[in-house]
Subunit: 481 residues, 2 copies
Amino acid sequence: MNMFFNPRSVVVIGASNSPFNLGSTICRALNEYSPYDGKIYAVNRKGETVHGCPGYVSVADIPDTVDLAVIITPAKVVPGFVRQCGLKGIKRVIIESSGFSEGGQEGREMQDDIDRTARLYDMRIMGPNCLGVLNTQNKFCCFYGIQEDNFDMFVQDKGEISYVIQSGGIVVIVLESFVGDVVGVNKIVSIGNKSDIDEADMLEYFNTDEDTRVIGMYLENIRDGRRFLDAAKKVKKPVIAFKVGRSSEGAKAAQSHTAGMANNDMIFDNACKQGGIIRAQSISELHSLPKIFTHMPPLKGKRIAVFTNSGAFGGITADLLVDAGLEMAKLSDETQDKLSRTGQIFNVANPIDLGPALSMQTFLEIFDILLSSDEVDGLLPVPSLWHPMVIDAIIELTKKCWVYGKPAAIYTPNSVQKTISYRQEYDVALFESPEEAVRALKVSHLNWCYQNIKDETSFRRSCEKQLSGETGLCRNMIQSV
Amino acid sequence: MNMFFNPRSVVVIGASNSPFNLGSTICRALNEYSPYDGKIYAVNRKGETVHGCPGYVSVADIPDTVDLAVIITPAKVVPGFVRQCGLKGIKRVIIESSGFSEGGQEGREMQDDIDRTARLYDMRIMGPNCLGVLNTQNKFCCFYGIQEDNFDMFVQDKGEISYVIQSGGIVVIVLESFVGDVVGVNKIVSIGNKSDIDEADMLEYFNTDEDTRVIGMYLENIRDGRRFLDAAKKVKKPVIAFKVGRSSEGAKAAQSHTAGMANNDMIFDNACKQGGIIRAQSISELHSLPKIFTHMPPLKGKRIAVFTNSGAFGGITADLLVDAGLEMAKLSDETQDKLSRTGQIFNVANPIDLGPALSMQTFLEIFDILLSSDEVDGLLPVPSLWHPMVIDAIIELTKKCWVYGKPAAIYTPNSVQKTISYRQEYDVALFESPEEAVRALKVSHLNWCYQNIKDETSFRRSCEKQLSGETGLCRNMIQSV
């Protein structure tokens, strides 16, 4: 699978200098926008060079071995080119063309033809009807139609999150939404009709891929429920999956888009629960939530301490935490006394009302009191950014979270525009709404429970230690979150 | 009530030139940032002029009648100043100081004292523990602590939405979020502990206020459930209300913030249903949803046509519409034929897949076919902005919606940052997520049902016409949305 993301040489079949040619945009991106240093060839009717990539009339004419073929031609000539690739010894093929099983009987027959060829020559096929892959590490990207400014914006290299996305439109939103975020994409694969490579293959690959810390999925159907569940059970990383088609209307729409069987959504839902996959409630969660995994330690219990200097948000977040199945931490008299002694706090019961003005020193004392307390598993800070000192305090808080091994999902009560600009300017993990921050805490805890169920002995040990050791508690925890 | 928003003269009691004086920030805003042309006086211990506003030692010394007093002094001297106002004949008083019923027994006693004085002199009191009022029409704003750049940013004059907000923190978020939106604030009132004026008073006032088209509310409790319900039943405008305290933990937090009784949330919920108030699911809905009322005709039925050029969103929106109790419109063969004849569409069944490239002419034809069809009550367009022509088409669509009397909740599948910047640049009502667009359609329909139940005869007539006239259908519609 690695060869799809790190090919030493690639041929773009269907790239020419004709106007509006999509293949040429792939050659352009690889050879002109990207520092990718593998060899790039083009195949077209005239054998012409495309954006500096040597062109040939046939795959057989390429005077070198080729790791990966990208095919972007009219559907009817694709089966022939797949055979050329087989004969040439190319083992990895991405078919970006559409017009196969999503388009009716004739398309399905062509897809069957391709499948037979692939088996014959022992090739792996990605697609058809897809965008292929993006690897931000070596900047290899075979998406068609990408412009230079988009390439520079999208293909940043700080990403630790890898995605399996069954639709080009979602790829664009995810990439766009990460611009200026503290997290980003490591690899994306758009698997389209998945005649061969499917979500289970990708889950297995990203699980072993060292650069990937969190896995995101957008799915319109599951090709093989059993295999998917087996793969999910083995994954040791957080997986967040959005699936369309909860309703029969949605399933019908998805079917006409990427040709999958309209799966029963209940089956997928059960697979997520059994396989330890977090089901996203909206597509925006695919990019908004991973930062709780990359930028914070896991939430190992349910007891959350809220602190804010905007009284309204004490109540709002308390409601949201209860809705989410988490709990407002009950602070003992001793802890409340410690908070009182910091001198300036309005209300020391949880939610803690900081009042309008605190010094940096007081902020730091509060962080230590709460994070060191065995009454608290995690924090939900809602500090309004009325003074530059507050952002400095937030940055210190993120460091302390790692020291104490407890997470904070930080929401600053401002407009989304302002939150995004602060996150970008100070490179700190801020969530965009109180709902998103609470959801982040919930998925952090849910993933911690899932990973520990996968390793049940150590999980039971942690449960016993933390939660007085009732039998059966582990599974109950998941059910109740 | 009008005198609170349009006073001819105002005195700020507690405004002085001492460092960190909050009253002086009110004088500064009114006299320096705002073109407000009423008279402004200050009352302080030295009788000194504050930011150009003549100062007096006592209210009695002011050589003129005064419409409105704003009190921002330590709590313990407030009752005395309220009496001075009564003696001076001032009938409207805003008490911004905190430290009353939200702070314990002593505070409650002072609040009782104020209430007695108010009854004696026939005065209306707003607050205590509040920010007071903002009227963007005459730019009268008595919020304390506001800075000049915030004043210019927040106090814009295109607003048609008026708010009753029981917390200063929420006021700031709402104002900030409207920056660059197509809608904005007309009036805001922060009513705090509401010892006298409460949410029911404000609902009645905004219902009669000609400049207000939509009413938003943030509440931590309801002072008088019966009065609130009576007021709600008479309101002829859309009302969107967020209430904190759904859980007992949230109610407890709200109580310590603005001192209300922890109401049973079920009672509020029932009052909303009976009174025709739309309950917001998050505080962001207070600013995100009103544009469906100000910028689109109402949704009179449930049948929605979706069109998109990003196939994934066909399925995503179909799921969301079904979840929301709306319906995917079933397009007849005749309508599908008409769509086919436009020549370039991938899939003419609903959700309609436009395919990658359409001309302006095709867009306009599609709008006319769908909006004129009696199979369709409203549109959910999800066009990606791949070409400047698409935004021109969207602008034409918004005009056609008024011609046909059917709404479109438009979502462009891009990052939130990009959607906000397009909305600002082209002054067109775009929603920020598919969830928000679907929710907007739902609340539009819900409000239409509510308003018509309030006027039951005409409502039954519309139901019969649209929905084949089953008895009892009206109330069923609301229950099922």
